[in-house]
């Protein structure tokens, strides 16, 4: 069963084509990362799936519903963390969770959710006294309090310090262990790589690559082989690292030489991503 199916999705704002024919599928229980620079169409795509915006063309199924004409329990089954939202500053963390819990037929236990997002000690504190990271955790808590099957996280760690990011990552991993499907948008590559089962890279309203982080890093860029010869650095980029390496090493062995500083390196997701988004500038 697919949690999300998208095909031929298009959306324009006036003359600006924000989403230009997007297709992807997300399986139940999968953490799917949507990656891309600002303005690539990530948020527009996600907001169409959440039911906030109408699409111009294409087919969309989210938990079996068309988000434009959702089944009655569609909103019982999704949890949304928006890029930027502020709640009521004078209510406590627990009161805020209780308000949202009251909207759902079968909410989770409020104190359990507060503990899950790591706000147990802040349960009776006013929202205005929370730090930025704690407020984001509150956002996540109220997205989880309805016990959704599918969670949308739009740039959940933007503006976090490294420690808060690690904590947020742990929480997102715990969502996976609860069996939730997660659609994560981010422009942090390490975040996508750490958390996602699969990643889609968006650029100018289209998806340019989809795959596991490992697939993206093996198929997209050539492997780099580095060594020193006669005091000079040599760099070889190749699609056939096994053959090139065998030739290099056997030649060196035949000459009785050592290939100094020999390194074989696969590109990181960051390099793949930069290569994919650099094409954009060449075309432009």
């Amino acid at each position: 069963m697919h949690a999300i199916e998208v095909s031929g999705l298009r959306k324009a704002y006036g003359n600006l084509e924000a989403v230009r024919g997007v297709d992807f599928t997300i399986e139940e229980g999968e953490v799917f990362g949507l990656l891309g620079p600002n303005g690539a169409g990530k948020t527009t795509t996600v907001e169409i799936l959440e039911g906030y915006r109408k699409r111009d063309a294409g087919e969309v199924r989210v938990l079996g519903s068309d988000p434009d004409r959702p089944e009655p329990d569609f909103r019982e089954r999704i949890g949304v963390v928006l890029q930027q939202s502020q709640l009521w500053p004078n209510l406590t963390v627990r009161e805020t969770h209780r308000i949202f819990a009251g909207y759902y037929r079968a909410p989770r236990d409020v104190d359990e959710v507060i503990a899950l997002v790591g706000l147990g000690e802040k349960a009776d504190s006013r929202v205005k006294t929370l730090s930025g990271g704690q407020k984001r955790r509150l956002d996540l808590g109220i997205a989880l309090v309805g016990d959704p099957d599918l969670v949308f996280l739009d740039e959940p760690t933007t503006g976090f310090d490294p420690q808060a990011r690690r904590a947020a990552w742990e929480m997102i991993r715990s969502l996976r262990s609860l069996g939730k499907t997660v659609l994560l948008t981010t422009h942090y590559l390490d975040e996508a790589e750490q958390l996602s089962d699969r990643v889609a890279v968006m650029r100018e309203g289209q998806i340019v690559r989809v795959g596991t982080p490992a697939e993206l890093t093996t198929t997209d860029l050539q492997t780099e082989i580095r060594y020193r010869q006669n005091g000079e650095d040599v760099l070889v980029r190749t699609d056939e690292p096994t053959r090139v390496l065998a030739e290099l090493t056997s030649a060196a062995v035949a000459r009785g030489e050592e290939l100094e500083g020999l390194q074989v390196r696969r590109p990181t997701l960051e390099e793949v991503y930069l290569a994919l988004t650099a094409e954009e500038e060449v075309e432009a």
Partner: protein, 262 residues
């Protein structure tokens, strides 16, 4: 499931949701000290202040009674127009309205709860005005309570419609309080909320003559000061109705649930 069973299953959560949302709205309102002070308490303070300044008669009735009627009018505009507009803008720009739209809470339940919550605040404020009037200035309670309550509900509905319309045109949460008070305070002065206007220059009175608060105060005066039924002022009701409909139509076309794109 039979049609009846489905109807019951749908209806019961709807009532529970409404009660839950109304409680939530009241909690949010009273927990915010600024809102509770400026919206609820401020008209009461003005009444105490003005009541100790004016003496003798206004419009042929004891001054405190006329002031009380004027401040019920100011309280109505302050609560249903200014308070509602500011709250809506802040909630929209903070993304709360957008956030709520992703939950199972139906928009109609949200809007009705907010309006009823606003009406509760206004009614409590009016009761407090009468209790203060009785205690300090010996003003009577309304003789025709039914007509008086009807007038309050009509006024609250008209100003709520104007409040949502105004919220639709305000762009930022920071500016909302300034814009709303820039409309509210001159309107209150020009329409006699804070005392009689017959010594004002003619052009100021002419401006006051087209503003809805003037006709709400006229209605309250007629019901409270003169003991007439609320229906005995068809002209005032017509002007109020026109403003209310204009506010509703404007809201229907211009209201947004989402914050301005950052």
């Amino acid at each position: 499931m039979s049609a009846e069973a489905i109807r019951l299953a749908v209806r019961r959560p709807a009532r529970r949701l409404f009660a839950h949302q109304l409680r939530s709205e009241q909690l949010v309102f009273w927990r915010s000290r600024e809102a509770a002070f400026f919206i609820f308490l401020f008209p009461l303070l003005l009444f105490v202040l003005l009541g100790s300044v004016y003496s003798g008669k206004i419009y042929g009735v004891p001054a405190p009674e006329a002031l009380l009627a004027g401040l019920v009018g100011y309280g109505c505009a302050n609560t249903a127009f200014a308070g509602l507009a500011i709250q809506l803008v802040i909630r929209r720009e903070n993304g709360i309205l957008k956030r709520l739209r992703s939950t199972p809470l139906p928009p109609a339940t949200y809007v009705v709860s907010l309006l009823i919550s606003t009406l509760i605040v206004f009614v409590l404020q009016t009761v407090a005005l009468f209790v203060i009037g009785r205690a300090f200035y010996g003003t009577p309670f309304p003789s025709d309570v039914g007509s008086f309550v009807a007038a309050l509900v009509i006024g609250a509905a008209v100003f709520a419609a104007l409040g949502t319309a105004t919220a639709s045109v305000i762009r930022s949460a920071e500016g909302s309080s300034a814009v709303v008070n820039f409309i509210l305070l001159p309107m209150a002065f020009l329409t006699g909320s804070f005392g009689p206007t017959h010594r004002y220059p003619a052009f100021l009175r002419a401006i006051g003559d087209v503003l809805p608060l003037k006709y709400f105060i006229k209605l309250v005066n007629s019901v409270y000061l003169h003991g007439h039924g609320f229906w005995t002022q068809p002209g005032a009701l017509a002007v109020l109705g026109a403003w209310g409909v204009a506010g509703l139509v404007f809201t229907a076309f211009k209201f947004r649930w989402e914050p301005r794109e950052g």
